[in-house]
């Protein structure tokens, strides 16, 4: 799974439009997400960036009014083709949410391994190896290694979010989606998450939605600027922030609106 990644495109999005009823939330977006890199999606509230993100793992389908047009390919596989079930796509693409959501009735351990156990992996040795591996990658191992059976909700907010990251990583996804992962956290926890992202990108393709431009500038390699459902500009982060091609982009990144 992680071997699929060389510096070609992990995700190719062509003419993606997402509708909720009559409302077109994402309008005809095309871009390529590079493998083993961090791509940030920025833009003002309501610009469609979260909707775009959720289209990548077909989570928008949880809304009965949702409809999409266009094409998204994950390492060459059309994730919307007729014989592909959303369930399968979501095993290849992991997601971390804005507000941490560990399962409260499960321990730390159980939360990390839930995805694996769903996939039928019962071997205790494999499970505990993956647990340690994922928790290390999420920079949480040292803090919890002595209390893996403690309830997940006994952790602090920042720790819970890292636990959710570990939970997503445990199933070894090809792409990791993060929807404003640090917006509910304090600055210290936020910087831990950002360091984490920089470490993870060596092995994972990451797409992160953020309304925090400094965060985008610090942590990402590529940035896409969305406005009112449209992709206004997309390119290497340094270019977007220092010499954007589009006036609107420039207005946003310099804080003139948003």
């Amino acid at each position: 799974m992680a071997d699929n990644q060389n510096n070609s495109a992990a995700l190719t999005v062509k003419n993606l439009s997402v509708y909720f009823g009559k409302n077109e939330a994402v309008k005809n977006v095309s871009l390529d997400i590079a493998a083993r890199a961090v791509t940030a999606i920025i833009g003002p509230s309501g610009c469609g960036k979260s909707t775009f993100l959720r289209a990548i793992n077909r989570m928008h389908e949880l809304n009965p009014d949702a409809r999409m047009e266009g094409e998204i390919k994950l390492f060459g596989d059309d994730i919307y083709s007729k014989n592909v079930q959303p369930v399968v796509v979501r095993r290849r693409v992991g997601m971390v949410f804005q507000k941490s959501n560990p399962f409260p009735t499960m321990s730390i351990n159980e939360n990390v391994t839930v995805g694996l156990r769903l996939n039928g992996i019962r071997d205790k040795k494999i499970l505990s190896e993956r647990t340690e591996q994922s928790l290390r990658m999420a920079a949480l191992w040292d803090e919890v290694k002595d209390r893996l059976s403690a309830p997940a909700i006994s952790l602090s907010g920042g720790q819970q979010q890292r636990l959710c990251i570990a939970r997503a990583l445990a199933v070894q996804p090809e792409v990791l989606l993060m929807d404003e992962p640090a917006s509910a956290l304090d600055p210290l926890a936020t910087s831990k998450i950002e360091d984490l992202i920089l470490t993870l990108k060596k092995d994972y393709t990451i797409v992160i939605v953020t309304h925090n431009m400094q965060q985008a500038a610090r942590a990402s390699d590529f940035t896409a600027f969305f406005y009112m459902g449209e992709l206004v500009e997309f390119g290497p982060t340094t270019k977007i922030f220092t010499s954007p091609a589009n006036k609107r982009t420039e207005d946003y990144v310099t804080g003139r609106f948003g």
């Binding site: 799974m1 369930v87 039928g120």
Partner: protein, 284 residues
């Protein structure tokens, strides 16, 4: 790249959908069956005689449940006289006044009352109104017990409905210098009136079907009750008497009575649902 147990998981998903669907159908089945049998056995017995005649003595064929039907309406009227003012005004207090501690206890007490078995209500009102004034079985006692049972129900539904009225309405009225009590009566209650009426109707439908409390208060009557201090017939009571009797003709009439009672109760329930259909749309 699908996990090895993918097909098994899909199978389980479908299986559980089927099982839970089957349970949902199972749940609905008794309603359908009851309705079907009531119609089948009772429909043909519903005729003019049924609604206008009194029960005939044991052994004679024919007669009707005119007194029981009238009795039920009389009892419901009495119950409303007691249950509505106390229940609605009590609900107003809970919603519009009161410290949170006291209100918590009032709500708790109301919830307890809602859990009191109906037969307990029956023997309590028997002890209070019937026993001391023997032979005290009376329409009065029957109306009282049903009315008392309505109070906690109406109180809670009124409170809920009043709470739905936006705070802004009250504030606007008070800011105009209108007295609080007028605000509550003319603005808040006015706005919530439909909901309050709904709650009252549902409570009435609930007590209309009660038999146990009436057994020891209204007691039943094979004729007309000429005064409120006499025993009175009621549909559920009559149905019960006929249902456990060995006489075929009485049992035939019990089906008819049950059909009429069920239609009355369902009509109120469905009618209320229809009236509040906008409220229900959002609640999936």
């Amino acid at each position: 790249m699908t996990a090895p147990n993918h097909n098994w998981r899909q199978f389980k998903d479908v299986l559980m959908r089927v099982i839970t669907f089957a349970c949902a159908i199972l749940v609905v089945t008794p309603l359908v069956l009851v309705f079907y049998h009531l119609l089948k056995e009772g429909f043909t017995s519903i005729n003019w005689a049924f609604f206008t005649q009194l029960p005939k003595p044991v052994g004679e064929i024919g007669g009707g449940m005119a007194n029981a039907i009238a009795g039920t309406f009389i009892l419901l009227g009495e119950a409303a006289l007691i249950g509505v003012p106390i229940g609605v005004l009590g609900g107003v207090y809970l919603s519009e006044y009161g410290g949170s501690k006291l209100n918590w206890w009032i709500r708790f007490a109301a919830d307890i009352l809602n859990g009191v078995p109906s037969i307990t209500w029956g023997i309590v009102v028997y002890g209070l109104l019937v026993a001391p004034h023997l032979p005290g079985f009376s329409a009065l006692a029957g109306g009282v017990v049903l009315g008392l049972m309505m109070i906690p129900l109406v109180m809670r539904t009124t409170e809920e409905v009043l709470q739905l009225v936006p705070a802004g309405y009250r504030e606007a009225s008070l800011a105009l210098g209108i007295a609080k009590w007028r605000t509550i009566v003319q603005i808040v209650i006015r706005t919530a009136l439909k909901g309050i009426v709904t709650g009252v109707l549902l409570a009435l439908a609930r007590v209309a079907g009660e038999t146990a409390p009436l057994m020891f208060t209204a007691f039943g009557n094979l004729g007309w009750a000429r005064k409120l201090t006499e025993p009175i017939a009621a549909l559920p009571l009559q149905i019960f008497e006929y249902a456990k009797s060995p006489y075929d003709d009485w049992r035939r009439q019990a089906w008819a009575g049950a059909l009429v009672l069920l239609l009355l109760v369902l009509a109120i329930n469905i009618g209320v649902r229809f009236l509040t259909r906008d409220r229900f749309k959002a609640k999936i």
